[in-house]
Structures are given as C-alpha cells and as structure tokens.
Amino acid sequence: MKPWILALALLFPAAAFAAEGHPTLPASQVETGGDSLYVLDGKLTDQDGKEVTLEKFRGKPVLISMFYATCPHACPMLVSDIRKIDTRLDPAIREELQVVLVTFDPDRDSPEVLRNLRAAHEVDKDRWTFLRADHGFVRELAAVLGIRYRFTPDGSIGHSSVITLLDRDGAIAARVEGVRQPADDIVRKLNAMKK
C-alpha cells in the first residue's frame, strides 16, 4: 500500500466520525456484549445439502469465519489457526464448541466441494460445519463479522481473515483479525464459557 494512501485511509475515519462520536466496531460490541447474530434469518446450505439458519447453533459456543475453497494461502492457514485454538481448550468446552465456516464463493463452492474440503482437512464432522449462502446473505454476514472482501478479475477473492467467537446466545464475545495471530483472548473466553 502506498504510504500516502494509507495515511489518507487512516486519517479519514477520524475525520468522518470525530463529530459523530462513533465507537469503533466491533471492539465496542465485545465490551457491551453485542447483539446476537441469530437475528439474521438468511438461509444457508451445509456440506450435506441441508438448509439451515445460524439459529441452529444457539446454545453452544461458536467459532465462525469465512473462507473459500480455492483460496491458496490464507484460508488453509485459517483452518489451521482454528485447530490450534481447539487443541488449547479445556476438553469439556471443546466437546461443545461448534466451528462454522461460510464460503464467500457460493457459485463455485457447492455442497460437494464443501464436503470434500471438510474431509480433506480431517476435522471433527460433529463439530465443524461448512456452509454456503446466496451472495446477498454472504455480504450481510461479512458485514456483521467486519470482514471485507471482493472478487478480483483472476477469479480469486481478496478478503480479510477474522475468527469470531460467539457466545451461547450468538453475541460476539471476541475476535482475532488476521492469520497466525495470537488467539489467547479467544481461548481464555472460551474456557470461561464452561458450564
């Protein structure tokens, strides 16, 4: 990124919102407990072709993130980051934890592609769910999770990587932005969710 563009981008939020008194999302949401993602009623389809809503995960702690199957670098790292969090959990909470990965790319990521991807990663089928939704709901979900993405001419998808922890009511409890980042906060909060 060219330094002067970065400077403009950094200056602008302050300029635009100084008078507005805006909090910076989503940190403030985390502090106030936030709102439940389960108000979103968009339909998704899982790796087995079954239609679900996010509501399905209510009552359990959830790690949710977004990816796409043909992503060369960041997405495999994302899966590996989530597995690392998983291994650091108290067994009692690990048993309950649901991992939800939603694709940016519903056109290419069919249930079959998602199913194969889940098999390739050799993750726990009872706890890991791979989902697709229409483009409109993908945008909404990305917006509530604070994930930016866009399709590029070469067919790849530029996106930020964010792992978000939802509490049992679906409210955002913690998030880690970027891959290979420390996830101590998420691990601590998850372990504290033990019943």
Partner: protein, 281 residues
C-alpha cells in the same frame, strides 16, 4: 505527497455538502444544449422510485484496486433517479415494523439510527419529508432496496454513474466539474437537508449524485481489500488473502478519493448524519 494528504484530509474534515451550492453551481455551470440531461430536464418532475438506465460502457476507477482493473467493463443497469427520501423511508418502516427506530437490533443499526426523526413513525421538524433519508445503516438501506425489488448499487456502478457531468457521461476531465465537487465537499452539513431534485440532473438523468448526501453502496470499502498480503514488510501481510496491489489512477480527483476513503471507514451498522442511499436494479 505529505501536502496532498494534508489537503485531502483538510477537506475531509468538512466532509459534507450543500445542496444550495449544488443547485446554484449546476444552474451556473450547465450549458443549454441538446444533451440527454437537458432533454430530461424538460421531462415531468422525477418521482420517488423512478429509475433511469445507465448505459454499458467502460469505467475508469480513480482508485483501481489492481493494474488489471484500471478499466472496468460495465454492464447497463438501472439506478434510482433520486436518493431515497424521508417520506419514502417512512412508507417502508410503516410497512416493515422490524426496521422502525427502537426495534432494529444494534447488530444491524447503531443507536443513532433515524435519531433526527420525531418518532419511529413521525418525521418531525428536524427533517424535510422530501429530503434524502440519512442516519440509516447499510443493513437498513439494503433491506429497503430489496423490499422494492431492487438492490444497492455496487461501488463501481455508483462511481461510474456519478462520473457524469450534466453534459457528458464522464465529466472527470472537466476541471470545472471536479472543482465544483470539491467546493460542495468543503461546505458544512446543513442542520436540515433540503429537498431532493432541486438542481439539474446529470447526463444520465440522475439527481443529487453530488451535492446533497453521501450514499451507501453494496460493497462499501471493499476496494481497500487489495494488498498482496504475502509481500514482505506489508503491515497487512497476515490480514488479507488476495493478489493485487493498490494503484491510484487519477490522483487529482480528490473528491473521488474522499468517497473511497469515507466508504472504507464505514461498518455495516453505522448511521451517519449525511449518509443516505438510492437503489439499483
């Protein structure tokens, strides 16, 4: 470079526009002639929800996210002639109670959602019914458009349509046009916004693309997602999965830069006093 940033940021601090400046400037600057806009100006007054067709063409973004996207082929699309007004939005929340002030979850709109209205179903004296609705979140704007069988325009569509002056589909090479935009941007936000459609339409027949409020787009801020994240020394190195580099196009179009930067600072639930929207199809 530092000076450029300072200039742009200084203008950004004002970060608002004035319709009175818009209409007077448009009146002063739009030559009479046989342009599409001039023909449209004689047409009946535009009504809420009226759409115009924006023809296919090539969009040259002022802020191409990668070298491959310096020229973007655009398909034809339709765009609302006017920004959505308070009156239009009142009809929407009347029909869709879940989007009334006080009922929208904080996840989808922050606490200042429609705060300038007198009540959840009453516009009141702080807003003109025929002025653009503002203080609506992206989620709310998206829901409004979908309820009309429409959608929000993409950033490329909006910028492509907004590049038109009164007489040309691309007014960006016209110094008078770009200077006028910056002049608008430097005016403070009025306490109560004026009515829509007071000035002349642009080449496509669109009113108030500039000069009244900023507008939401479907993919706000996504242009900034463009770094080659795996490049050494990039602070965004581990944040993005992507393959392109930011390359500014026409660095003199500060107004467009400001719009891109503003949009990239937004989040879906934000509501802003000078940010409205219109729909596309």
């Amino acid at each position: 470079m530092t000076r450029r940033v300072a200039i742009a940021a200084g203008i950004a601090l004002a970060c608002a526009v004035s319709a009175s400046a818009a209409s007077s400037a448009a009146a002063a600057g739009a030559p009479a002639g046989s342009s599409k806009a001039a023909a449209d100006a004689k047409a009946p007054a535009p009504k809420a929800g009226d759409m115009v067709k924006v023809a296919a063409g090539e969009h040259v973004p002022v802020y191409p996210p990668s070298p491959e996207e310096a020229v973007i082929p655009m398909k034809a699309f339709e765009l609302d002639r006017l920004p959505v007004t308070n009156r239009d939005y009142l009809a929407f929340v009347t029909k869709h109670p879940k989007w009334r002030r006080g009922r929208v979850p904080g996840l989808l709109a922050d606490h200042r959602y429609l705060e300038h209205w007198k009540g959840p179903l009453e516009i009141g004296a702080e807003a003109d019914p025929d002025a653009p609705v503002t203080r609506v979140s992206w989620f709310a704007a998206k829901a409004y458009c979908e309820a009309q069988g429409k959608r929000l325009p993409t950033e490329n569509e909006w910028e492509y349509a907004a590049a038109a002056s009164a007489t040309s589909p691309n007014g960006r090479s016209d110094p008078a046009f770009t200077a006028r935009l910056l002049e608008w941007y430097s005016k403070p936000t009025p306490k109560v916004f004026p009515k829509v459609a007071r000035g002349e339409p642009n080449y496509w027949g669109l009113h108030d693309m500039h000069g009244l409020v900023w507008e939401w787009v479907l993919d706000f801020g996504s242009t900034m997602v463009s770094s080659d994240s795996r490049e050494d020394g990039d602070p965004d190195k581990m944040r993005f999965c992507g393959a392109s580099a930011i390359n500014a196009g026409d660095k003199d179009d500060y107004a467009a830069f400001m719009r891109y930067a503003f949009r990239s600072s937004l989040q879906g639930p934000y509501t802003v006093g000078n940010l409205g929207f219109r729909c596309a199809r």
